[in-house]
Symmetry: C2
Subunit: 270 residues, 2 copies
């Protein structure tokens, strides 16, 4: 049996960077962004923050941007005082101690209710995303307001990418990201809503494994994994809604967030 | 409107590391592991590979290990020649051009079939994981064999952690990871099956956002996001089934992969 002898060379010294010749990615949160408000040119503000802090941009750097600030910049924000709840929204809200105006906004953002039980609304948005509350969210916005998902996250990602390429003259990729729950597992993870300049899915079908067997069904959702990696440094309350992944240049290419949305006709859970 | 002036300071020079004072994580694939076979002391082999290549281990380094090599080392492998399919397995296999012996193994690994349509089996394993084919997999194993999920991934993670702490004398965390599909979205992402030395869920409920609003429902599945980040460097066919995440020391603590499994009674999709 191999591996019976303990590793004898012990780790020495203090923290050391991982060796640079191996497959490696770095994920860093971008500090220095102001609080984002409607009308902000978000891409330019991100470029300015990069210039002040990280200073360099490499070809293939992937910028992951929280949906929340994209929605704020684009004005995808609703003032609850201006919302009149429908009777259905009033009824659900009363039964589950929710704000009927928020429930009304959720209904308006939904094209299909997937589940509505135990105070939880899982809805399909008009983009086709399936998520809690159709993406309507009251966190990280002033009291009395909620944010919606951006109307076209791929277009948002494309605009951000254009601004960053304009600022730095280098081809980068962008992801607009949000935290979604999942059936069967606890907790939420970040996923990619909008994508520009990146292949969101990498298809290993047809590749050979080390035994020469053809891989049959392995399509990795790279953009979602990048969004999750970014969330690890963005955190929820730290005020750093942008992260940069460096070292993932092989996935640069063409693609959209739309490609990550499974069509209802192919879905077993709608 | 802010941000109208383009960033004028352009990125200079060649590739540069990201500035080290910011929130940052590094993810590196571990080279140098041999092909794993039944009986291998996987933790010691990983420690030896670290000693040969990366050389140092930091307190709080998180080792993400592909389920496939854990199953191989533990002998969670089935020789298909020794499987006699049941009539139900024969019937499903014939209808969907599958190997009836593989279908039989999937049935044996399942405690509940969640969906069985269009040639796809989504099953709840005895651990409570819900995934395609109950985790039974023919890739990256010799022809005529399939791997099962490890019988107790948390115990596997704990053993790997013990071996690494034994080798390096520093507290590290471990995750046993596999690629799972998700409803509603295309592609698979890596998730954490077994966890040791790590808080798999980080609960932001009760924290304040920058507007002083209490976050209500944000529990991040950190272990799953770490598994996804690791997959980005592990890749499917590159033969590097171990990755190390450095810089995430704040999540070191107590926890299990079991904590990520939503109880069926709380699940809207079973």
């Amino acid at each position: 049996m191999r591996g019976e002898v303990s590793a004898t060379a012990r780790a020495g010294g203090g923290p050391a960077p991982l060796q640079k010749t191996m497959a490696e990615i770095n994920v860093v949160a971008l500090p220095g962004l102001p609080e984002i408000v409607r009308g902000d040119e978000l891409g330019v503000l991100i470029a300015n923050a990069v210039t002040k802090t990280i200073r360099t941009v490499n070809i293939g750097d992937i910028f992951i941007v929280a949906q929340k600030i994209v929605s704020k910049a684009e004005g995808a924000v609703v003032k609850l005082d201006e919302v009149t709840p429908s009777p259905a929204a009033e009824e659900w809200a009363a039964a589950h101690q929710k704000d009927p105006r928020v429930v009304e906004v959720i209904f308006r953002e939904s094209r299909r209710i997937v589940r509505m039980e135990r105070g939880i609304i899982i809805a399909e948005t008009r983009h086709g995303f399936v998520c809690a509350n159709a993406g309507v969210d009251a966190s990280n916005v002033p009291a009395g307001f909620v944010t919606l998902l951006p109307p076209d996250p791929d277009a948002s990602a494309e605009r951000l990418r254009d601004a960053l390429i304009g600022a730095f003259g280098r081809s980068v990729a962008t992801i607009v990201s949000d935290s979604f729950g999942r059936p069967w597992r606890e907790g939420v993870v970040n996923v990619a809503l909008g994508v520009a300049g990146l292949r969101p899915l990498v298809d290993y079908r047809g590749c050979l494994d080390p035994f020469g067997r053809r891989l049959e069904s392995t399509v990795m959702a790279i953009a979602d994994e990048l969004a999750s990696a970014a969330e690890l440094v963005m955190r929820k309350t730290a005020g750093t809604p942008v992260a940069i992944v460096r070292g993932a240049v092989e996935w640069v290419g063409e693609g959209t967030g739309r490609m990550l949305v499974r069509d209802a006709s192919r879905d077993l859970f709608r």
